[in-house]
C-alpha cells in the first residue's frame, strides 16, 4: 500500500518513524531505548522520510530497520558497512544509517568497518556494543573482556578485546562518540551530532543484553554510581564529573589523572578542556582508553573533525570529467578513436 506523501506537507514527529512491525526484542533489552532515541532524533534533522535509509547486518541489533518507517535493508552478517557505502555513493542525497552490533561490525565485518572509516563516507554508524553475540545465544565477541565465560569460552575467553573507538581512530576515524543506552536524551543529542557531522560518524552505544550479558555496563550506568563513573564530555568545557561535580581530569606529563577540585590547589583551570575538533588523536585516544575503576568512562562526542568526504570528491571528479569531456554522448564516444569503414 502506498502511504500518503505527508513528509513534505506536514512536519514530522516521532510517530512518523514508527513502522507497523511488532518490535521483537526481549523485554528489557537495551535496544528498545535506542530505537526510541533514534525515532526521537529524526524529526528534527529536517530530512524527508523517504530520504532516510537504515542498513543493518545480522544480529539482534540488526533487526532495527524493520521498526523504522523509512527505507531499510536488513542485509547479511558483517556487510552493512559495504552495502551502506554503496547506497550513499549511489545517492549522496540520502541520510544513511548503519545499525550494527559488536559481532557484526567488529568480528565478521571488521574489514568493512575500518575501510569505511578510513574512506570517510558520510554515514552514521550506530554500533550496539553489548559485548556478546546476542542472536546466536551468547558467545564472547571481539569486545568481550578477557576471562569472560560463555558457551564458546567455558574456560574463559583468551582474547584481548578491541576498544571500538581506539580501533576507529587507528583506522583514521574523524567522528567517535560513546553513549549508554540508559540515557535517552543524551542519546538523542549524540545521534543528532552524528547525523550533522559530514563524514563517517561512529557512535558506540553501551547496550545491555538482559539475556546473555546482563548488567555488563552496570558499573557505568547504574543510578548509584553513574555520576562518578561517567565523564560527560562537551566541547569547550572542562572535564568535570562526580556526584559533587568536584572531580576532574588533568594531564600529567603524557598521562591523564583524576583530581579533586579544591584539593592540593586544584581549580577548574587546572583541568583539561575538551576539544573534540583537535586533529591530533592523542588526547582523544587517552579519553577513549580511560577505564573504571581508576578513571571514569568518557561519554559523549569524543572526536569530531571535519575533513574531506569521500563522495564529495567522487562527485566533484565526475563533474569535472563531464565538463572537460570531449564526448557529447555515448555514440560520440563509440565513434571516436581508430575507426574504419567497411563498405
Amino acid at each position: 500500500m502506498i502511504k500518503e506523501d505527508c513528509s513534505t506537507a506536514c512536519s514530522l514527529t516521532r510517530k512518523d518513524f514508527v513502522s507497523d512491525q511488532q518490535v521483537k526484542w526481549c523485554p528489557g533489552c537495551g535496544d528498545y531505548a535506542i530505537l526510541s532515541a533514534v525515532q526521537n532524533t529524526l524529526p528534527a534533522l529536517g530530512k524527508k522520510k523517504e530520504d532516510i535509509v537504515f542498513i543493518s547486518g545480522i544480529g539482534c541489533s540488526s533487526r532495527f530497520p524493520y521498526y523504522m518507517e523509512t527505507y531499510g535493508f536488513h542485509t547479511i552478517h558483517g556487510r552493512a558497512a559495504a552495502i551502506a557505502s554503496g547506497v550513499k555513493m549511489a545517492n549522496p542525497n540520502l541520510s544513511v544509517w548503519e545499525v550494527t552490533g559488536d559481532g557484526d561490525s567488529l568480528a565478521i565485518g571488521g574489514n568493512h568497518f575500518i575501510h569505511l572509516i578510513r574512506r570517510n563516507i558520510d554515514l552514521n554508524i550506530l554500533l550496539f556494543n553489548n559485548k556478546i553475540y546476542g542472536l546466536t545465544k551468547g558467545q564472547f565477541s571481539p569486545t568481550s573482556d578477557q576471562g569472560f565465560v560463555t558457551k564458546s569460552s567455558p574456560h574463559g575467553s583468551i582474547e584481548e578485546p578491541f576498544l571500538p573507538g581506539e580501533l576507529a581512530l587507528g583506522a583514521r576515524g574523524n567522528f567517535y562518540a560513546r553513549v549508554p543506552d540508559t540515557s535517552p536524551k543524551f542519546m538523542t543529542e549524540v545521534f543528532t551530532r552524528a547525523a550533522k557531522h559530514r563524514g563517517t560518524s561512529l557512535v558506540e552505544i553501551l547496550q545491555n543484553c538482559v539475556i546473555f550479558n546482563d548488567d555488563i555496563h552496570e558499573k557505568i550506568t547504574s543510578k548509584e554510581t553513574k555520576e562518578d563513573a561517567q565523564l560527560i564530555l562537551e566541547h569547550g568545557k572542562p572535564m568535570i564529573f562526580g556526584k559533587e561535580k568536584n572531580k576532574g581530569i588533568r594531564l600529567n606529563g603524557l598521562k591523564l589523572e583524576v583530581v579533586t577540585i579544591g584539593e592540593n590547589g586544584i581549580t577548574e583551570e587546572s583541568l583539561l578542556v575538551h576539544d573534540a575538533y583537535e586533529v591530533e588523536t592523542t588526547l582523544h585516544l587517552m579519553l577513549i582508553r580511560m577505564a573504571l575503576p581508576e578513571f571514569p568512562v568518557a561519554l559523549g562526542v569524543i572526536r569530531e573533525v571535519a575533513t574531506s568526504v569521500y563522495e564529495d570528491v567522487l562527485v566533484a571528479q565526475i563533474e569535472q570529467a563531464q565538463e572537460k569531456s570531449k564526448y557529447k554522448n555515448l555514440d560520440d564516444f563509440f565513434a571516436s578513436g581508430e575507426v574504419w569503414e567497411v563498405k
Partner: protein, 616 residues
Amino acid sequence: MIAKKKTIEVEKIVIKFAGDSGDGMQLTGTQFSDTSSLFGNDIATFPDYPSEIRAPQGTISGVSGFQVHIGKSGVYSPGDIADVLVAMNPAALKANLNSLRKSGIIITDIDSFDKKSLEKAECLTNPLEDGSLDDYKIIEAPVTSLTKKCITDLNLGMDNKSILRCKNMFTLGMVYCMFNRSLEQSENFITTKFKKKPELVTANLAALHAGHNYAYTIELLASAYTVLPADNKAGMYRNITGNQAVAWGVMAASERSGREIFLGSYPITPATDIMHELVKHKWFGAKVFQAEDEIAGICSSIGASFAGNLAITTTSGPGLALKGEAIGLAIMAELPLVIVNVQRGGPSTGLPTKTEQSDLMQALYGRNGDSPAIVIAAGSPSDCFDFAYIACKLALEHMTPVILLTDGYLGNGAEAWAIKKTKDLPSITPSLVNKDVKEWEPYLRNPETLARYWATPGMPGYEHRIGGLEKQEVSGKVSHNAENHEKMTLMRAEKIQRVKKFIPHQKVKGKEYDDLLIVGWGGTYGTIYGAVTELQSEGHNIAFCQFNYINPLPENTADIFSKYKRIMVCELNMGQFASHLKATIPQFTYMQHNKIQGQPFTIDELKNKFIKTLAE
C-alpha cells in the same frame, strides 16, 4: 545477437622484433624461431636489415627487424602483417606500426622514449601518450633500466655499453614467457657463444632470466587472438577487447535504461581491465569503487542497486567464490545486479593468466539454498558488448542477479566491433513502480515476468524494508511460514524460468538431422565455428550450436537436440555444461570433448576430433 560469421585463427602468429642496428634484433629473432622450431612449431622468418649499413643510431633508417611466423603447421610465409611488435625504441615503433595489425600487441622499451630519441625518430609527440596507439595493446617495459640493474648488481665489471647490449636478451626472455617457451635453447646458445667470456655468459643469462621473470611477475598475457574479419557487414568498425566491450555494454545499458552505473570491484586477473576501462568514463557519470575485497565489491553494488543504480560487480573465479553469500542476498531481495566473471584456470589460485570455462557450476550453484540466478555467456570479444548489455537488461527487467561469464581469452582478446548506435539497441524498461497505480507492496509482481516492482530511496510514500530472511509473498515482510517458503522458493525458480520467454531461440548452424551436433558455450564459439564450417564445406554431416543462454536454456533446446543422432559437448573444463544439460534435459545422451589445459581449443584439434567421431 550472436556476432556475425568470422574466422578465428589462433594457431599462427607473426612476431616482429625491431630495434636499432646495434640492438641485436636478428639474433633475438633467430633465437626465438629456433626455440619455436624445437618446440615443434612450423616457422617462417624474414630478416629485414636497414638499408644503410651504418645509419645513425636511433633513426628510422637505422631500424633493423626480424619477423617470425610460427604456427602448429601450414606456415608458408613469414606473414603479411604482424600480431606482435617488439620495438626497442621510438624509431622501431614508428617504422613498423603500419605492418602491425589493429589491436596487435606492442612491446616497447619505455626507457627509450626520451626527448632525444623521439626527435631522432621524428616524432613530434610521444606516441605512447598522444593517443595514436589507442587501438593497440601496449606493454611498456623498462627494458634498459632493468637490464642495467640486474647486471650492475652482479658486479661483473662490465662497461655500460656492454651491459646495454644485453637488452635484447631481456626482451627475448619476456617473449619466451609470453609464449610459454623454454629458455633452455637460448641458455645453451649463450653459454656456447660466449664460452671465452664468462662475464658475458653471466650477464646475458641474467638479462634473459630477468626479462622472463619480469613478464611472469607482471603477468603478461599473449593474447593470440586473431580475428580475420571475413565478411563483415558494411559499416563503421573499431577494435575492442572483451573486457573493454563489457564496460561499454554496461554504459550503453545505462544510457538506454536511464540508470546510473555503479561498479564495485576488487582487482583480479584477468578481470581488472573492465574496472580500468569503466573508471576512465567519469565523464559518463560512471561511479567506480575499488573496494577492500570482493565481498565489499559486490555488497557496495547491492547497496547501489537498492538505491536505484545499474549495479555491476566484476571478478574472476576465486573472487566469485567470495561473492556467493551476497549473490544469495540479491536473489532473496530480488534486486537487479550484474556479476561479470572473467574465468581463469582453477581450482584455487590455479592458473591466473590462463583461460578456462570451469566456473560454470559455481555460477549456477555456488551459494546456499535453492538460489537460482540467470547465467549467460559471451562468445567473442565483441560479443561481450552485446551480452553485457543483455545482462543489464535482464537484471533490470526481471529484478534478479545475472551472472555473465566471459573468460581470460575473451577478456584480453580483441576483435573488430561494428560500432553501435545506442538508439538501435533493444530498449530497456526497468521494473520500476508505476506511480499511477495506488496498490504497491514490495513483493507485488509483474504477472508476466514475476519481477517485483522497484521502489528506491528518495521516492516518497514507498518507504519499505527488505532483507535476507524469507519473505511473505506480496508484502515482503519476514515470514517463517512453511507453505509460504515453498511458494516463494518456487516463485524464485519460476521467475528465472520465465526469462525463457524473453530470450531468442537457440540457432543451429547446419542441416537438421545431421549425424553429429556439436554443442559449445561461451568463448569457444570462434574455434568451434571454424572447425565445423570447414568440415561442412568438406561435406561432413555435422551441425553446431553454441549456447549463450545457460540458465535458463533457450526454450527450443530440447527440440533442437531431438533432431540429431549424436550430440557432443565441447568445453574447456571437465564437462560442466554437459552436466548441466544432463540435469536439465536428461532425455538425451551427451558425448563430451574436454580440454583442461588453460588454453583455447584449436581448429585443427577440433577437426581431428570431429572427423574421428563422425567415422565411429
